[in-house]
């Protein structure tokens, strides 16, 4: 059973008189434990694809299944619960809560899940430690660098033990060295914890360590490559 199954996914945006087709029928599967990159230039539909995978938006057509449960037509409350129980998110802009410390940010999703205080703190500290941020637990986001903030964001996603972590351009606001380091860290977590990662990027230099690359252009999957070097044709 695939972790994610996406069939003929389409998304139209209308802005006034103008209609934009962000996704034009995407078919995709994600297997458990994969470390997958969705690569493509700006405007290719990467963020839209991740948003639809996270049930943050509703497709114009097509279906999205997470562990054989259809998630593209969930109501707001059900979608929020589904995200809480199954998904982790990392955003381009870090999106940490500015009034909370790194530890409190890392524990935030656990708090939403209703995890007890001690267990919450233990898992959050462990996640920060895994991301090399344990010594910064008491600092607030404005006391951390961009790379550090993004690591806290990954820790927040990781601590909740989701089935999959979706990262939308997690390195876009970081310098290349820091971005590389973050991707390597995520890769390490994928290996050590078996967490499935799907991240989007427009930077081809970040694709070296991924298991699989899904190339997206103009809302279509134009190719897939795996680590073993097998290239797949245009979708």
């Amino acid at each position: 059973m695939s972790l994610y199954r996406i069939e003929n996914l389409q998304k139209r945006y209308r802005t006034g008189e103008v209609e934009t087709l962000a996704l034009r029928g995407v078919d995709l599967t994600i297997e458990e434990g994969e470390f997958t990159a969705v690569a493509g230039p700006s405007g290719s539909g990467k963020s839209t694809l991740l948003h639809l995978m996270g049930a943050l938006d509703t497709p114009s057509a097509g279906e999205v299944y997470l562990a054989d449960t259809r998630i593209d037509r969930l109501g707001k409350r059900e979608a929020a619960r589904m995200r809480l129980e199954n998904l982790g998110f990392v955003f381009q802009a870090y999106n940490l809560i500015p009034v909370l410390t790194a530890l409190e940010n890392a524990a935030f999703v656990l708090e939403l899940q209703g995890v007890g205080r001690r267990e919450r703190e233990r898992r959050a500290r462990q996640a920060l430690d895994d991301l090399g941020m344990a010594e910064f637990a008491g600092r607030r986001p404005n006391q951390l660098s961009g790379g550090q903030q993004q690591r806290v964001a990954v820790a927040r996603a990781l601590a909740a033990e989701p089935k999959i972590i979706l990262a939308d351009e997690p390195t876009a606001n970081l310098d290349s060295e820091t971005g590389h380091a973050l991707i390597e860290l995520m890769r390490q977590l994928n290996r050590d914890h078996g967490v499935t990662f799907v991240f989007s990027t427009h930077d081809p230099r970040l694709l070296d360590s991924v298991d699989r690359i899904v190339r997206l252009e103009d809302g279509r999957v134009t190719g897939e490559e795996t680590r073993d070097g097998v290239a797949r044709g245009e979708a």
Binding site: L56, R83, V99, E111, L112
Partner: protein, 411 residues
């Protein structure tokens, strides 16, 4: 309520320190002003209550229909001692006083005045209370004194008599001697100017000898320790017991004795509540503004929270909690400032320029601020309610956000 959520809500409030402080200050001001307002209202109400009940007691026992009687004898309670005994048995901590009002003519030399001579008992507590408000020159009425009389200074002036002078009282149509001679032992400066020229006090024994042996016009029950309307329930309960004990007589509380005053007192609380509501609405508008602006500034953050799995209801709850915390803090500050001010005013205050005005109504010009715990709770509850109501609209807006749209929002 998890501590983490409380902590987050509290910290969020201080992201815009100035705005939150302004709203908090507004709520604090309204809570403080409400408490002062209630306490001043309480002072006025209790002053009127005190004035009324010190004069005639919280309870009075008369013959039925006494208000319509024109015949002096028909208005008498003849078994005064038994009625007083029954009153003492059922009145609990009340002080029972018999009083006999004798209409007649008071004469000194070639001057005379029509008066209602007041013959009554004066237990210590009542005498002290009376003399506190009505300064005395000379000696006051003594129990059993058949020859002494205390006059209001205005009446004494009208009769051109001073302390030591002799006055004659002529009371036709009564059942005693009908006439008597008395020595003026004291002059009293009556607080209420309208009573200054009508006040003539003798002992109950002297009045009974003059007009109605062993009888009284009424029996009064005073509760000197009850100085506030809010504490009046004991007297109401006593009145019910007394009516059962003396079913042939009319037992009335101060409410039945002074219905006009009661209407004024009863209308004060709703009026004060309405004024409070207006104050809180004004403060509430500031809070709405603060919470709404905070919500707008954090739309992207709410989008992120929802993306992470927070439901719309959770976001709504967070915003509402922030508003309630803000108003709670305001209520705390307002109470911390308001109550000591009330305590200070409880020692006594006057309204400059209005002392004579109050005295003309027989009211003590010195007010004593008084606030009931329920009124403190009322003000605090109003503040909390303002917090909830002020958050309704912005919280509702936030809960309906679509996560992706919210994350794209720029203020």
């Amino acid at each position: 309520m998890p501590l983490a959520v409380l902590s987050l809500a509290w910290r969020n409030l201080w992201r815009q320190r100035r705005r939150s402080l302004t709203s908090l200050g507004a709520v604090a001001l309204v809570v403080c002003l409400s408490m002062l307002y209630y306490s001043i209202g309480g002072a006025a109400v209790n002053s009127m209550y005190s004035n009324l009940t010190e004069a005639g007691g919280q309870i009075q026992i008369h013959v039925p229909g006494y208000r319509d009687l024109r015949d002096f004898s028909a208005g008498l309670i003849r078994n005064a001692a038994q009625v007083e005994a029954a009153a003492r048995a059922d009145a609990g901590s009340g002080v029972v006083v018999g009083a006999l009002d004798v209409p007649g003519l008071l004469i000194h030399g070639d001057r005379s005045r029509a008066v209602a001579l007041s013959g009554r008992q004066w237990p210590d507590a009542l005498r002290e209370s009376y003399l506190r408000q009505n300064p005395l020159e000379g000696r006051f009425v003594r129990a059993g004194d058949e020859a002494g009389i205390v006059l209001g200074r205005g009446l004494a002036t009208a009769l051109d008599v001073g302390i030591g002078g002799q006055v004659m009282m002529y009371a036709p149509g009564t059942e005693g001697y009908g006439a008597g001679s008395y020595t003026v032992t004291g002059l009293v400066d009556v607080l209420d100017p309208s009573y200054a020229s009508r006040t003539a006090l003798i002992s109950l024994a002297a009045a009974q000898t003059l007009a109605a042996p062993d009888a009284v016009s009424r029996v009064e029950v005073h509760f000197p320790s009850i100085r506030r309307v809010q504490d009046d329930s004991a007297s109401l309960e006593a009145a019910r017991r007394l009516q059962r004990a003396v079913p042939e007589l009319s037992v009335e509380t101060w409410r039945e004795l002074s219905p006009m005053l009661v209407r004024i007192l009863d209308s004060l609380r709703p009026v004060m509540a309405v004024v409070s509501v207006i104050f809180f609405i004004l403060a509430g508008l500031l809070v709405v503004n603060s919470i709404y602006l905070g919500m707008i500034e954090r739309i992207r953050e709410f989008g992120v929270l929802m993306s992470l799995g927070a439901s719309g209801r959770r976001v709504m709850g967070l915003i509402t909690l922030e508003s309630v915390l803000l108003c709670s803090a305001g209520a705390l500050v307002g109470t911390a400032v308001g109550l000591p001010l009330v305590a200070l005013m409880a020692r006594g205050f006057t309204v400059p320029g209005l002392e004579q005005y109050y005295a003309s109504f027989g009211m003590d010009p010195v007010f004593y601020a008084s606030i009931h715990p329920s009124e403190v709770a009322f003000a605090i509850a109003f503040a909390l309610g303002t917090g909830v109501l002020a958050a309704l609209w912005p919280a509702s807006l936030a809960s309906r956000l679509e996560p992706v749209e919210a994350m794209r929002f720029t203020a």
